[in-house]
């Protein structure tokens, strides 16, 4: 069983973001990066599949040279090897072009299963996995909370809205988008980190994959949102803030 897991490196969650000079992306100065959270769960699910069913876990990542850090982490956790599509400016691709880039790399590998997070914390398109499935001719399941191997392929638990779920069985090869919380993330061990140093990271380029930047609906402009509703800010130290809020809750909101 060969599992490919597509991961992405994104700015850390509590980053203060500033739009850069181009007005199309954020200024990377002073930003720390981490693996996109749902992708971390997709990686963990892939590693658990290998432990249960044998085979190989291949990490696929499109991103700048600096994404090597996230790729190495994934190898340290137990992935066998990696494909790195080196591209400094991912935002020049619209969602379809980006998926074409990933699909070209996946096709050559002929995997049994492709996993990815349900959406990214930066662009948040939430559609790369589904587009990939269509491009690869695979059936897909989205927002997956559980997976099990069956005689016919794979049975997955889809999360629906408002507390509803549904089991769906798909033939393999298939693509799944993984929801955060599906499993418990592992930490890398010292041994894993050491081993990762000798694991293969194959560099690929968009040109070699035959995909050019652009597309029909690229990001044109990035900016801070205008505040719709002005919240009333309660200032001062914690004690003063607490006292003022309680006054408001008593006399204005009449909630206590």
């Amino acid at each position: 069983m060969k599992v490919i897991v597509a991961i992405k490196q994104v700015p850390s969650r509590d980053s203060r973001l500033r739009v850069d000079g181009s007005g199309r992306w954020i200024d990377p100065t002073d930003l720390t990066a981490e693996i996109n959270e749902p992708d971390a769960y997709a990686l963990e699910e892939a590693l658990q599949w290998k432990e249960k069913h044998g085979g190989e876990v291949v990490v696929l990542c499109a991103g700048p040279a600096g994404a090597t850090q996230t790729i190495r982490d994934a190898l340290a956790k137990g992935a066998d090897r990696a494909l790195h599509i080196e591209e400094e400016n991912l935002t020049a691709y619209d969602s379809l072009r980006l998926a074409e880039l990933l699909a070209a790399a996946i096709r050559a590998e002929q995997p049994d299963l492709v996993l990815t997070g349900l959406q990214s914390d930066d662009l948040g398109y939430g559609q790369t996995g589904v587009i990939l499935a269509e491009l690869l001719g695979m059936p897909h399941g989205t927002i997956i909370m559980q997976t099990e191997k069956t005689a016919a392929g794979i049975r997955v638990k889809r999360e629906l809205e408002d507390g509803w779920f549904q089991f769906v069985e798909l033939p393999l090869p298939a693509l799944l988008t993984i929801q955060s919380g599906i499993n418990k993330l592992r930490y890398s061990t010292l041994m894993g980190i050491k081993k990762a140093k000798s694991k293969e990271i194959k560099a690929l380029t968009p040109a070699a994959l035959g995909v050019t930047p652009g597309g029909a609906a690229p990001l044109e402009k990035l900016y801070a949102p205008q505040r719709g509703k002005q919240s009333r800010l309660i200032e001062g130290d914690a004690r003063k803030q607490a006292a003022e809020l309680v006054e408001i809750l008593k006399h204005e909101v009449r909630a206590i």
């Binding site: 559609q127 999360e159 809205e161 509803w164 549904q166 990035l222 801070a224 919240s231 006292a243």
Partner: protein
């Protein structure tokens, strides 16, 4: 049934009940319309009554896309049916509500048409020979404009709350039936009946006061501090998704698109950044109080009262102050 240059709205229903975001999307299409005819379609089996209800809105046409293989949702059948519908209607723009189901098939639909779906948009403007779609990035911290120019169809899914249902205009429109050609062999997924995990032991929907905790709380060992605040207020304790994913609070206390939708008198958001998935579940609250260290957190956009600062100082101080006044 060609209606060139129009907007096609794909409504969502489950077992005969509308998804309410469908109406918001239809309201958005009406506002954007400005002369562009709006066609609204509903997919399923025996959906004539739903289509007739659509015919009572101010649109050009209502269409029942009816087939036995559309009775239970699958991405394969839905994509095949809509591909045929889009080819027949030839709209400039296809609008869908950004529901979990739409997230499952709309990227596939657009890709099959060789087009790009702009997902989860909060605003749409007609611009020249195309559209500008505004959507949120970085979990609501920044907005981005996406321009789709040239010949249609363009595809976009609309975020919950982007348009108001109460602006939906009534009217009278003809109702048609569209019978797509579908083959059971095209459907690769074998779907089982949807289910709920268990009867909900906790019903947050009736709570008057809710204290909800998010990522800012940092660790399981700190939940007790927020619980003490809830207790002092006589409020229900709730959480954003990551807290429940980590098992720090049970899933049944989760507020948001995958959890419960609440509308208390006061909602205290403690250490919650306010990503849209969370806002969907709580923006019906009458009053929102947000406590967060990041003044740019999206939660402050919907908060009535904002306390910017360290929740580890503010929460205990607030608990103490409330106890004094009770």
């Amino acid at each position: 049934m060609s209606s060139s240059d129009g907007i096609l709205v794909v409504m969502e229903q489950t077992r005969g009940a509308w998804h309410k975001m469908s109406w918001e999307t239809l309201a958005g299409a009406q506002q954007l319309g400005g002369g562009m005819p709006v066609t609204a379609a509903v997919l399923g089996h025996d959906v004539g009554a739903l289509a007739a209800e659509l015919g009572g809105k101010q649109i050009a046409k209502a269409i029942a896309v009816d087939h036995a293989l559309l009775a239970s949702y699958t991405a394969d059948a839905c994509t095949a049916a809509l591909t045929q519908l889009v080819a027949a209607v030839q709209p400039a723009l296809v609008l869908l509500p950004h529901t979990y189901q739409v997230r499952d098939f709309a990227p596939k639909l657009a890709t099959r048409a060789g087009r790009v779906l702009v997902s989860d948009v909060i605003r749409i403007e007609a611009a020249g020979d195309g559209f500008v779609f505004v959507r949120q990035l970085f979990q609501g911290k920044l907005n981005g404009d996406f321009r789709a120019a040239g010949a249609g169809p363009h595809f976009a899914s609309v975020q919950a709350g982007a348009y108001r249902v109460d602006t939906l205009a009534a009217g009278s429109a003809p109702v048609e039936t569209f019978a797509p050609a579908l083959d059971a062999a095209q459907i690769r997924a074998r779907v089982e009946e949807p289910f709920r995990e268990s009867a909900r032991a906790v019903d947050l929907t009736a709570a008057e006061l809710i204290v909800s905790v998010g990522r800012g709380i940092k660790g399981r060992e700190n939940i007790g501090m927020v619980e003490a605040l809830a207790q002092a207020l006589g409020a229900e304790l709730a959480a954003s998704r990551p807290i429940c994913d980590n098992g720090w609070l049970p899933m049944e206390r989760q507020v948001g698109s995958s959890g419960q939708t609440v509308s208390p008198k006061v909602y205290f958001a403690v250490g919650i950044s306010g990503a849209i998935q969370h806002q969907v579940g709580m923006k019906g609250a009458k009053t929102v109080v947000a406590i967060n260290k990041d003044p740019n957190a999206p939660i402050f956009e919907i908060a009535d009262y904002g306390l910017v600062g360290d929740l580890f100082e503010i929460v205990p101080a607030l608990t103490e102050e409330i106890k004094k006044h009770k």
